[in-house]
């Protein structure tokens, strides 16, 4: 998925070096992915070896050279292939939090209840944050991308709301259990 993003960004915004890609990702995708800088460099180098990218060292003034990558024809084909493969990607989440319930014999119910309460507040904060960010983003995005951006935001909002609903429901279940 990371190579796909890198190839797509290089195609959309032209040749870039690693740090610039990181900045674009931070601006546009930070709510949806968490791609680390060393990971970007890793894939840039790898895809260069595979012939998906071409390098052209840039030496502005006497500053240290930056390695600028541009997408090749082969890279564009690889991008198209990866994107098409994504269409068949399965949603198969695992929730580390489940382990807390699976092994709940080893915790006080009151401890779980307390952490669920904190978790619920955190989720509400995240939902507020995404809703604000959605408003902002929609305005700054070109018209033809509006629908797509809305689809992505709604994807995350729906899942955060599902998570909130779950936490709420579970909290109530545990409180009933606690009273017994």
């Amino acid at each position: 998925m990371i190579p796909l993003y890198i190839l797509g960004l290089l195609q959309r915004y032209g040749p870039q070096h690693g740090y610039q890609i990181k900045k674009i990702v931070a601006e546009q995708l930070s709510d949806f992915t968490r791609i680390k800088l060393p990971t970007i460099y890793y894939h840039l180098e790898k895809m260069q070896k595979e012939g998906f990218l071409a390098v052209s060292s840039e030496k502005p003034g006497n500053r240290p050279e930056k390695t600028v990558y541009s997408i090749t024809d082969k890279g564009m084909k690889a991008f198209q292939r990866m994107l098409t493969n994504m269409l068949e990607y399965d949603y198969r989440p695992t929730f580390p939090a489940d382990s807390v319930f699976y092994f709940s014999e080893h915790l006080e119910t009151s401890t779980i209840v307390k952490s669920l309460r904190a978790y619920i507040e955190k989720l509400k904060g995240i939902i507020r944050h995404i809703e604000n960010h959605r408003g902002e983003t929609i305005q700054h995005v070109p018209n033809e991308m509006q629908t797509m951006v809305e689809i992505i935001f709604s994807h995350h909002l729906l899942h955060y709301q599902a998570e909130l609903e779950w936490a709420d429901k579970s909290l109530k279940r545990l409180q009933i259990k606690e009273e017994e």
Copy 2:
């Protein structure tokens, strides 16, 4: 998260070798995690080096020896620590499918529509499967674990339903766009 499961299972079911752990996971947790066999062996060896596990080679008859692992006191403490840490675990999903929409300029809308339709059917199948499995599992589980098992199942169901809702909504948005 995987070490946590391994330690917890060794505590609950007593000393086991790698393959047995894999079987327990397959029976009880296959809907919620996808832990691979070599990963289990990796953590068993690692945790043995850390002193969380003790080994005792078992040689039944003249068959090849099996390496049986049991949890140590130190391992139990580590388990408790890991479990407590889990209480603060954040939900921060990323959806590879988002890339399809982020780069939708490179695909025909009709292609996306078609794959969304297939995706929706697949999700409905998964939801049916989990609902059946929930019924079965609840019956075979000791009473004191009922609430917890229900919480875990509802976790997954809510998210699959959110995913379905999203796919449905997105499909409709794209169909409106297609008509324009």
